[in-house]
Structures are given as structure tokens and as C-alpha cells.
Symmetry: C2
Subunit: 132 residues, 2 copies
């Protein structure tokens, strides 16, 4: 996670600040389209392409993250520390959870894939309380 100081040093444009604040202020994971709609509330002249550009930029800078679990549009999420997801196989609801990363699991994953590891995340598939 970047510090406030580091974020300031990026010299974000007005548009990128708006996109970032929309995501930071949201409790939900937002689709690009939802980010666009909410951003327009703050900056009516912002264009769709700028939202996409901003999302890509912010993602590359590590300020937000993109998740997609098959079916439908990507969703964007404020970047917090490492965290995991649960997704409802019935209604598609997506929630954040935090699990401890067991000792060694990342090392094993790196070993088996031959990848240089960055992060390891868990995805639980199941049925959410409303769908149960």
C-alpha cells in the first residue's frame, strides 16, 4: 500500500483523483460502468474512456485492484492489504474476507509454478447467507 505522501507525488489529475475517491468511498466492488456513473456526479464532463484509462493507471500504480470471477464485467476495489474473497455461486455476490496466509503456502506455490511470487489469494466459492 502506498502512503498518502507517495500518492501525492504521483500528481494525479483531477479526473484520476475523482475515480480514485469514488472507489475509496464505496463499500462495494464497483464495475467500470458504476465508477463512471458515480464519477459523473462529481465531475459531470468526465468521459468513459477517461474512467477506463484512470482505472488502468490506478491499477498499475497499485492503488486499486481488479477482480473478476467469470461472468460479467470486472469489478474494482480499493487496494487494502492482502485479502481474500468469497463469491456466491448462486447470485454472484462478492465479499472480502481476511484469512491468515499459512506458513510456506506461498513458497510451495512458487515452487510448483516456477513463478517469482508476489501475492497469494484465496477464493471461497459457496452460497451466501441470502441464498442459503
Amino acid at each position: 500500500m502506498k502512503s498518502t505522501k507517495e500518492i501525492e507525488e504521483l500528481g494525479l489529475t483531477k479526473q484520476r483523483k475523482v475515480v480514485l475517491s469514488v472507489i475509496m468511498d464505496s463499500k462495494e466492488h464497483l464495475t467500470a460502468n458504476e465508477v463512471f456513473e458515480l464519477s459523473k456526479g462529481l465531475l459531470p464532463k468526465i468521459s468513459f474512456a477517461t474512467v477506463y484509462n484512470s482505472l488502468r493507471f490506478l491499477k498499475e500504480e497499485g492503488l486499486i485492484s481488479e477482480v473478476n470471477f467469470g461472468s460479467g464485467a470486472s469489478k474494482f476495489d480499493r487496494m487494502t492489504d492482502r485479502h481474500d474473497h468469497a463469491i456466491c455461486s448462486s447470485c454472484g455476490k462478492l465479499v472480502d474476507i481476511l484469512l491468515d496466509l499459512p506458513e510456506d503456502l506461498m513458497r510451495k506455490a512458487a515452487e510448483r509454478s516456477k513463478f517469482k511470487p508476489e501475492t497469494l489469494e484465496f477464493t471461497l466459492r459457496g452460497t451466501c447467507p441470502e441464498c442459503k
Copy 2:
């Protein structure tokens, strides 16, 4: 995983059998479009919509799985036992790996999300050998 007998009992149509065989025979994860192109080789008159319908059907029956890691089209994979993925944050390459599911992790995930758990999968993000 379904047994051969269970699969036969589904009475798959010719088209669905072709789609399934394309995925089963592929070493790679395929996009819907790739499945369509390969299926046409076996059944030239098959339509795009049928491929999508078949993919949805086969997924619901648990014969194949869909993965998507943000950016681009979903990919379809033969359903094996529970397994995990590593994805290259540089080139997007996706590989299957198998990690042991630590004792308790699924129970904890269910506890924290309040979901009725079905599966828990890991995703390693890192840099693949070619990009290193």
C-alpha cells in the same frame, strides 16, 4: 468430478459432446472464441450461440470450469479435482498448480464470510519463468 457413467446419463447432444471434447483435449485454457474455432473443425455447422450455451450447460453440470483473472475473456478448463492457479502479472500467462488445502482453512473462510462453503482455491500472482 463426474464418472464416465454419469456423463453418459446426461445424454449430451452432438454439439455439447464436441465442445466438451475440445476442452478435454486441450492442454491450454481456451476462450469461448477458441472453443468455437476448434469446435467448427469437428462440426462445421456449429454456431457461436450453441458454443456459449454448451459452455454454460457443461459448467452447470460441473464438467468444465470457467476462470477469469481480470482483463480479457473468460477461459474454460476441463474440470479436474480441486486445483489452484498461478497467473503472470506481466504477460497474463495462466497455469494450473496443485497445493494442499490446509486443514481448517475452508472452515475459517466459511466462518468469516458466513457462506456455505463449496470449494476454496488459491491464486498466485507473480512473474512467470519467461518474464523473469
